[in-house]
């Protein structure tokens, strides 16, 4: 499968603290790549490097290259707005805007200039369908997004991202705040979306990684310790630290 994202020797500093050390990884398209590791190991920080959300963090400094389709996104002339359209992000706690379902999904397209009502209607429906939420909200598009359940809100956030037609989906522990049923639905959705998008999933639940991903990376203290096919990471890891982690022997 085609190489979508390539990270070369990435180092991330927050003021004087180095959060990521020499991380290099190839992320392939149309599959789910999971990043696991204990709390504070840098996997979320890494994810935020992929759409330059770390730019918003004061004192954050990035060294190294992140190539999206061969182009370094940290190069001076990168249009960050376009980058974030191409590389979308779903967050740990569902964060819909306190407006209607419709306006949530239409936010992105409106942001980028779409005003035509018919076109927006179409985009909203398409996105909600792709997020497996259409049937549940089609009659409630004008209702507040905050009236939805947690799982629905998260799917709404996914629809919101899909509305700007990204190529890559960065999912930062998307199921952390959800109950098991909602979690399974989102995992189901990820497997469907995998066909058309490149998905990078950060999860503190390694069983989720083992369930949905094809490739898994194990982070520890800011280093990418091991990276390979999911079966290998969980059945027969090469690094002792990875082995200790997947067997839950981390003291």
């Amino acid at each position: 499968m085609a190489l979508k994202l390539r990270v070369e020797d990435l180092n991330l500093h927050y003021h004087s603290f180095q959060a990521l050390h020499h991380v290099s990884v190839d992320i392939e398209g149309q599959r789910i790549t999971a990043l696991i590791g204990p709390s504070g190991c840098g996997k979320s920080s890494f994810l935020r490097c992929l759409n330059r959300m770390n730019d918003l963090v004061e004192g954050a400094r990035v060294e190294g290259r992140v190539l999206l389709d061969g182009q370094d996104i940290y190069q001076g002339n990168t249009d960050v707005v376009t980058l974030r359209k191409r590389v979308g992000m779903v967050f740990q706690t569902p964060n819909p805007f306190p407006v209607s379902v419709y306006d949530n999904v239409a936010y992105g397209p409106r942001l980028h200039g779409t005003r035509d009502r018919a076109r927006l209607d179409e985009i909203v429906e398409r996105s909600l369908r792709s997020a497996a939420l259409w049937e549940e909200v089609r009659g409630k598009l004008r209702q507040s997004a905050l009236d939805l359940s947690g799982g629905q809100q998260q799917r709404l956030c996914i629809a919101r991202v899909l509305a700007v037609e990204p190529e890559v989906l960065l999912m930062d522990e998307p199921c952390s705040a959800l109950d098991p049923t909602a979690t399974f639905r989102i995992e189901e959705l990820m497997l469907e979306l995998m066909e058309h998008y490149t998905i990078v999933l950060v999860t503190h639940n390694m069983y989720q990684a083992s369930r949905v991903s094809q490739t898994t990376g194990f982070f520890l203290l800011g280093e990418l310790i091991e990276y390979g096919p999911t079966e290998q990471i969980f059945e027969n890891p090469r690094d002792q630290r990875t082995d200790d982690y997947v067997r839950g022997r981390f003291g």
């Binding site: 759409n51 959300m53 918003l56 004061e58 707005v81 376009t82 974030r84 359209k85 979308g88 992000m89 967050f91 706690t93 964060n95 819909p96 805007f97 306190p98 407006v99 936010y107 992105g108 942001l111 980028h112 905050l146 956030c157 919101r160 991202v161 700007v164």
Partner: protein
């Protein structure tokens, strides 16, 4: 069991403190209504005072206060809102920003009479050609600066209260920080900003010292026709009739006070209702 009694005691103590706090409001309102209501009639509210002040109504004062309120609104929002937004969303964390914040805090502690003198020196005298001397403009500027700290603080607080996650969501969708501020943060902070602003305005409406030197006249024959005109104002008028006019009908004084307080209360009420309504539409 003893703990339950102790708790009851403390709550009773706190309740009585609350009553003590609420009491003055009730007393003032009662007093004003009792003494001032008799003077209130349509003539009182709609006619200017006769020369000598003892006869006639307070129309110009009401009009003047409203003009000043409008002007203060303009000044406070025009400067306070952007400042609050800048400090909350864009200012870099550093010595300069801290210094600015310190300055604003100090501004809040400046006595209103000092504001009045400041306004006199700068707006009335120095910038006489622009402001027209003692005028609505000068008064508005002075009062505007008076409540600037309140507005800025309220704006900052309201903006801070908007969860960071909403900003992140917006930025992650490709919005610039400006777009995020305008489309996401401000609409959600509006209730808080509005509330803070209206409370500030209510205070400004009742101030006497700042307008004494910058806008309010003892007596004006005509209603203001331009922003460069001076005005009469309720607080100053009240001061004047209560202290400078011998044998001024007490009821009218009370009536004037009643009108002023009613105006202030009305503004505060407006703030509360607006906030409630805006909140209901956007909650998180």
């Amino acid at each position: 069991m003893r703990e339950a009694i102790r708790q009851r005691m403390w709550f009773a103590l706190f309740a009585s403190c609350t009553a003590v706090v609420a009491a003055p409001v009730v007393v003032i309102a009662g007093l004003l209504l009792w003494r001032g209501l008799p003077a209130l009639d349509w003539a009182f509210l709609s006619t200017p005072p006769a020369p000598g002040m003892r006869e006639g109504g307070i129309l110009p004062a009401i009009v003047g206060t409203l003009w000043l309120a409008a002007g203060t609104t303009a000044v406070a929002l025009a400067f306070g809102l952007p400042a609050g937004i800048y400090l909350s969303e864009y200012a870099p964390r550093g010595a300069l920003t801290r210094a600015v914040r310190l300055a604003i805090v100090n501004l809040a502690g400046v006595p209103s009479i000092v504001y009045g003198l400041f306004g006199l020196a700068v707006f009335v005298l120095l910038l006489k050609r622009v402001t027209g001397g003692m005028s609505i403009i000068s008064g508005s500027l002075t009062l505007g600066f008076l409540i600037l700290p309140v507005v800025i603080t309220a704006t900052e607080e309201a903006l801070l209260a908007v969860p960071q996650t909403l900003r992140q969501a917006s930025v992650a969708l490709g919005a610039t920080r400006w777009q995020t501020t305008v489309r996401v943060v401000l609409p959600n902070a509006a209730p808080g900003i509005l509330t803070g602003f209206i409370i500030g305005l209510a205070r400004a409406a009742g101030e006497t010292a700042p307008i004494m030197f910058t806008a309010a006249y003892f007596y004006l024959r005509h209603l203001p026709t331009s922003l460069q005109d001076g005005v009469m104002a309720l607080p100053y008028h009240l001061y004047v009739v209560a202290t400078q006019i011998p044998n001024y009908p007490a009821a009218k004084a009370w009536g004037t006070a009643l009108v002023l307080v009613a105006l202030v209360f009305a503004m505060n009420l407006g703030a509360v209702l607006t906030r409630a309504r805006l909140r209901r539409r956007r909650r998180w």
